[in-house]
């Protein structure tokens, strides 16, 4: 029998003017925001993480930075050196400390010139550690070995995306020019979903040093703790050591020691801020939406006073009138919810494909059946709740008065 009230409510909604639909804007915006936020979910996190170069393994990275005070440009960066790498490795709770140099190189293939981000790979035991840290697996060909000279392996995007060099893909065996020197491509990395790794050119330390001539300077030191749980303690130790080596006081550090947790914390706090903002907007919208529904339903009760009188005259009981307006109001909310959930999901899909093309990942939007059901149930409930007072007013109308 409840079905009859739904049918009746739908009939009435069909004949509603644009005024009623405009009041749904609040519910629509709220539901859209929440559904889009959750559909983007992991994608948003990855997008932010990849910008911070967050790695999942338990390593500490040390980078030089400019002085924290003074006018811009006044603090030249004092680079890290091989001596710093060795000093850090001597710490008792450090298992390995590896050097990594990075640079921007001229990259030429099929007469098309571009600039690429290159990263060095150290020799020996450090090589294995670095491969582990990057979680590097070849998709095609192989990774570099210690005695490889004039060889490189490339991030996934050199293979998958046409970088303007026609239909022929870059595959192992092809020769490319880097800084006008010929290098042979020996491997392609699996897709990492990270903008940096998927677009990088990897070469052995010796090759890169010859190419870019940075001598003993080091861009990044990657340190592996002896025990996994001692990351925080190790961070403090390294900071202490580096302050001493570079002669700076606490608070004036011209270097950055970062742990995955610290980076993750930054990412989470940024995401948390964004999410909180969206949730606040969504709540306000939904609240306004509910008031809109109260308003439109109250108007509707007044406009349909006579209709209510007729229904009472032909035998509608108070609770039947109440039910009809209550359901109609709920459906009004539900329609806002359906439009919002659809729009939110679409926004999620578009957003994720945007992130995918930006960081070169293959993420799928998080389309959660339960979330959508919950959003729809929620919007029906909000609508119905908003309709309680108007529905009670309708139910309590005196038939004789209503029919006048």
């Amino acid at each position: 029998m409840i079905q009859d009230y739904f049918n009746l409510a739908l009939k009435n909604l069909k004949h509603r003017g644009i005024r009623s639909w405009l009041t749904l804007l609040g519910i629509f915006i709220g539901v859209t925001a929440v559904v889009a936020l959750i559909s983007l979910g992991s994608g948003l996190k990855l997008a932010v993480s990849s910008q911070f170069g967050v790695s999942s393994t338990e390593v500490i990275t040390i980078q030089a930075s400019g002085v924290q005070y003074g006018p811009p440009g006044s603090g030249a960066v004092t680079p890290l050196t091989v001596d710093d790498v060795n000093a850090i490795e001597k710490l008792s709770n450090v298992k390995l400390a590896a050097r990594r140099n990075i640079g921007t190189v001229k990259f030429e293939y099929k007469d098309i010139l571009s600039f690429a981000y290159s990263a060095s790979i150290a020799d020996g035991k450090y090589r294995k550690f670095m491969y582990e840290e990057m979680d590097a697996e070849p998709l095609l060909g192989r990774l570099l070995k210690d005695d490889d000279v004039g060889k490189i392996f490339l991030g996934y995007n050199y293979y998958a995306q046409e970088k303007g060099w026609g239909e022929k893909k870059l595959i192992p065996g092809k020769k490319v020019l880097i800084q006008d020197k010929s290098f042979e491509v020996i491997g392609i990395l699996e897709k990492k979903g990270s903008f940096i790794l998927d677009n990088a050119v990897f070469m052995n330390e010796k090759d890169m040093k010859n190419l870019l001539g940075y001598g003993d300077n080091v861009d990044i030191i990657i340190a592996q703790p002896v025990e996994k749980n001692s990351v925080d303690k190790l961070k403090e130790d390294i900071e202490k050591l580096m302050r001493k080596r570079r002669g700076v006081k606490i608070g004036e550090e011209n270097f950055i020691v970062s742990t995955p947790e610290a980076s993750l914390k930054t990412v989470n706090s940024i995401l948390g801020g964004v999410q909180a903002f969206i949730v606040i907007i969504a709540s306000i919208s939904i609240f306004i939406g509910a008031i809109g529904i109260i308003n439109t339903m109250t108007t509707s009760v007044l406009e349909r006073k006579k209709e209510i009188g007729i229904m009472k005259a032909i035998g509608a009981k108070n609770n039947q009138i109440f039910l009809q307006f209550f359901i109609e109001s709920g459906l009004l909310g539900l329609i806002g919810g359906i439009v919002g959930a659809t729009f939110g999901t679409l926004l999620g899909i578009v957003g994720i494909s945007g992130i995918n093309s930006f960081i070169g990942a293959e993420l799928k939007p998080h389309i959660d059946f339960w979330l959508i059901s919950f959003a729809l149930l929620g919007s029906f409930s909000i609508g119905a709740l908003a309709g309680i007072i108007p529905a009670m007013r309708a139910a309590k109308l005196n038939p004789v008065q209503a029919l006048k």
């Binding site: 009939k11 009472k312 032909i314």
Partner: protein, 288 residues
């Protein structure tokens, strides 16, 4: 059928010393100021009176839309002056069919859905509702208009839909408040003919009107109200009377002539002949 129309028929509605007062500011309006009346099953009753005579209020009381300030109202032996609003609704829906001056169809619903609505409030399932509604619409010659909306049909048709709706729950009593008030003479007659037909089938009809002509022409009993009181009651011979029927027919004819619609007239006469034939047949059956 007409055998039922004897003095020993059951009383269906009884008002005992009923008063209804309204407060308008400091003034108490005595809309109904002590009315006694009893209506028997199968009666065609008219409540007449000038505006302000209390006829609308009496109608609301009889139709259980309102409860009296004093006195008792019995509908089918049940004292409805003591019921709650929801109980009243239930009774109204089941035992009384309303016909209003301004038709009062629900504009968002089709003709058929309008007829189905009272059955929905009684919890009848949808298939049965649809079947009954279609049947009733055919009875008022609107079977082909079932899916039209009220704004797509004429006033006379709307009033016939209202009649079908009033019949939806097969009520004992049909309450008609100025049923021809918004109609022209021609369509008004058609509506009255339908009411007459329902009365012939045994329904109790209570009609409020301010047109004495209409009251005298169709009603068996006329209550004349003035200042919230029954001023006089006029009765007509209840026996089935061919002469009376002929008179009625003559009357209709005269009206038709006035309107110069000969085509309509023929049809009506034919229809009446047919009905009379049927009535005589059913009369034979009953008396057997």
């Amino acid at each position: 059928m007409k055998e039922k129309r004897k003095e020993d028929r059951e009383v269906i509605i009884k008002l005992e010393d009923v008063f209804k007062f309204y407060k308008m500011g400091d003034v108490t309006v005595k809309a109904v100021d002590g009315i006694d009346l009893s209506i028997k099953k199968g009666d065609f009753v008219a409540i007449m009176g000038p505006s302000g005579s209390g006829k609308s209020t009496s109608m609301n009381l009889v139709g259980s839309l309102d409860i009296p300030t004093h006195g008792h109202i019995f509908l089918d032996k049940e004292n409805i002056s003591e019921l709650t609003e929801s109980e009243l609704s239930q009774i109204r829906g089941k035992k009384i069919g309303f016909i209003f001056q301004s038709f009062n169809l629900i504009p968002n619903l089709t003709v058929k859905e309008n007829v189905m609505l009272p059955m929905m409030f009684q919890g009848i399932d949808i298939y049965e509702r649809e079947a009954i509604a279609q049947e009733l619409l055919e009875k008022v010659d609107l079977g082909d208009r079932a899916d039209h909306y009220p704004n797509q049909i004429s006033g006379g048709q709307m009033q016939r839909v209202a009649i079908a709706r009033a019949l939806a729950n097969d009520p004992e009593v049909i309450l008609a408040d100025e049923p021809t008030g918004n109609l022209d003479t021609k369509t008004g007659i058609k509506v009255m003919e339908f009411l007459q037909k329902l009365n012939d089938e045994g329904k109790t009809i209570i009609m409020v009107t301010h047109e004495p002509e209409l009251a005298e022409e169709y009603a068996d009993i006329v209550y004349w109200l003035r200042d919230g009181k029954v001023e006089k009651i006029t009765k007509r011979n209840h026996k089935f009377n061919v002469e009376k029927e002929e008179r009625k027919l003559e009357h209709i004819k005269e009206r038709k002539k006035k309107l110069h619609i000969e085509e309509e007239e023929k049809q009506l006469i034919q229809k009446h002949e047919h009905d009379k034939h049927k009535k005589l047949k059913s009369k034979k059956k009953v008396s057997r």
